[in-house]
Amino acid sequence: MPSTRDIRRRIKSVKNTAQITKAMQLVAAAKMKKAQDQAANGRHYAELLNKVLVNLKEKAEEGLHPFFSEGKGGKLLVLLVSSDKGLCGALNTNLFKKLITTDFGTEDVDYVTIGKKGVQAINRLRRHLLADFPIKDPAKFAEVRGVGRFLQEKFLTGEYKKVLVVFNNFINTVTVVPTVEQILPVNPVTLGGKRDFAPEIETATASTEYTFEPSAAVVFETVLPQYVNDTVYQMVLESRASEHSSRMVAMKNATDNAKQMIKDLSLEYNKLRQAAITNELLEITTAKMALE
């Protein structure tokens, strides 16, 4: 049976925890708003670029650009986009679970990471880490472009068959889906939970050929690297939005739990106190009755 003093102490400590988680929740909520806006704003561009390129890919001849066909080597290159910090619920755990359960079809996989948690996971899994890119928060395009260029250079060496990205796809504040997408060779990718292909465009271009100005090679030469960089950037944005949302939700749950705990403890404390008072009264009355 704990004493009233013990319970008082526990209530105090839980209150402190609640205060901290509440503060973290508010910070995460503010960051979440920004990250979500950023992701939502970029999504339209990324989707459209995605759509146009995949349309073009079907029309383009094989071998027009190295980004359209698989590399000669048998290895795979995987970019893992995780968060830098913890305390965001099961976000990273789910992401790594997805990574572990995904069958890449080959053992020979090299990893590139964004985010400290990813580095730790890759090391723990004893997989081969090729490079790690620290990206600040909020993510800047100039920083992420470096990652995109690195992936492209590696792919162009021909060592790798494909380049994949494992990231948290942001759907809404409570739904985040760990996703594996192929970025090279150029492929339609899912962003924000949907593969955006309006049917009207598919039919409009199905039977027709495009004219390229000045030539297909020149257009692809400028556009494809841009596409890779932008898509990677958008994926980082989606991951960041997921991270802040998950953290906000996790902290909100923690605060709610702490509040419930305070309530339970207070009840117990009051009961104990009341019992003590009753006891005392009983003692006094008994003593008085004994005297009479």
Binding site: N41, L48, L49, I201, T208, Y210, T211, V219
Partner: protein, 138 residues
């Protein structure tokens, strides 16, 4: 048949409406697009873009990008698109000066990323200034 025009940048969807014609700075010079244009893909260069709808012309300064034209839709993906009226000449001049200075500071052969970014900035600023000044003299 109307022509649908969409202009998007990584930050936002700038324009999405039906227009009569659009004139844009393509790889091989200015290019006018009307409805039922042949399917075409080209790269966009920094410069000015004119949209005509019902006799009214809107001008915009655009950056580098990609243009996809089909018979019914024209999609412009670019890193910048600013309405001519919204260009702040002074701010752009300052940005241009800053970019030119940082270009001079950068050593050749080093930091290609940076150089490319600064060059793009200069081109974008110049495109905006051209458009703004041209409108003034008219």
């Amino acid at each position: 048949m109307p022509l649908k025009l969409e202009i998007v940048t990584p930050e936002a969807r700038i324009f999405s409406d039906e227009v009569d014609t659009v004139v844009l700075p393509g790889y091989e010079g200015e290019m006018g697009v009307l409805a039922a244009h042949a399917n075409l893909v080209t790269t966009l260069l920094p410069g000015e873009l004119r949209i005509t709808k019902g006799g009214k012309t809107t001008e915009m300064a655009v950056g580098e990008g990609l243009v996809e034209v089909t018979g019914t839709v024209t999609r412009i993906l670019t890193d910048m698109a600013i309405d001519a009226d919204k260009i702040d000449e002074k701010a752009v001049e300052e940005a241009l000066a800053r970019a030119q200075k940082s270009l001079a500071d950068l050593k050749p052969g080093e930091q290609q990323e940076e150089v490319a970014a600064v060059m793009a900035m200069i081109q974008r600023s110049t495109a905006q200034l051209h458009l703004k000044r041209k409108r003034k003299t008219v």
